[in-house]
Symmetry: C2
Subunit: 99 residues, 2 copies
């Protein structure tokens, strides 16, 4: 039991972060607006959680212009993918344990 | 995607709360000391999260004396069991989705 809590990643405690990561591990690059709509979040809410994941080194940012409009998109890093897989495995162990 | 975040329960965002609930759903009554040791937590940390779960109506408290020593033990409520099952199902859906 001790072990399983240790393997859960504090950075993914929040369900919005779980949502962001689960979108980004299956999509190469997702822009802010699309991510916001997929997860049904406000700008501020998405921004704060994505910044937290960026600080952890789990999410990377790409800024470009589409015509004159700035466009920001997000992708998962290799570390992020690994950390998320480990977190989901720990959760999977928890779910199995109860059966 | 939208749905799956909605089905995750904010009360269980924290991994310590996941740990507490996962112990309590498989054990009838667990006293403070045993719970603390099983989860490798400090007194303050366990107390604050158990209080949060109690306020949600997910955990119930039983106080008694063993000889002259007060003993506090915790159990999951019917609501808590249901809410936790729903949360784990939502997590399970997330885990399945990535495969």
């Amino acid at each position: 039991m001790k072990n399983y809590i240790q393997f859960l990643n504090k950075a993914f405690d929040n369900r919005i972060r779980l949502g962001i990561m689960s979108v980004l591990v299956v999509n190469d690059w997702v822009d802010f607006k699309a991510l916001k709509e997929m997860l049904d979040l406000t700008d501020g809410n998405l921004a704060s959680h994505i910044t937290a994941l960026e600080k952890e080194g789990y999410v990377q940012v790409k800024k470009k212009f589409i015509g004159k409009k700035p466009n920001t998109s997000y992708g998962v890093t290799r570390d992020g993918k690994k950390a998320f897989e480990e977190h989901l495995n720990a959760l999977e162990n928890l779910i199995k344990k109860r059966n």
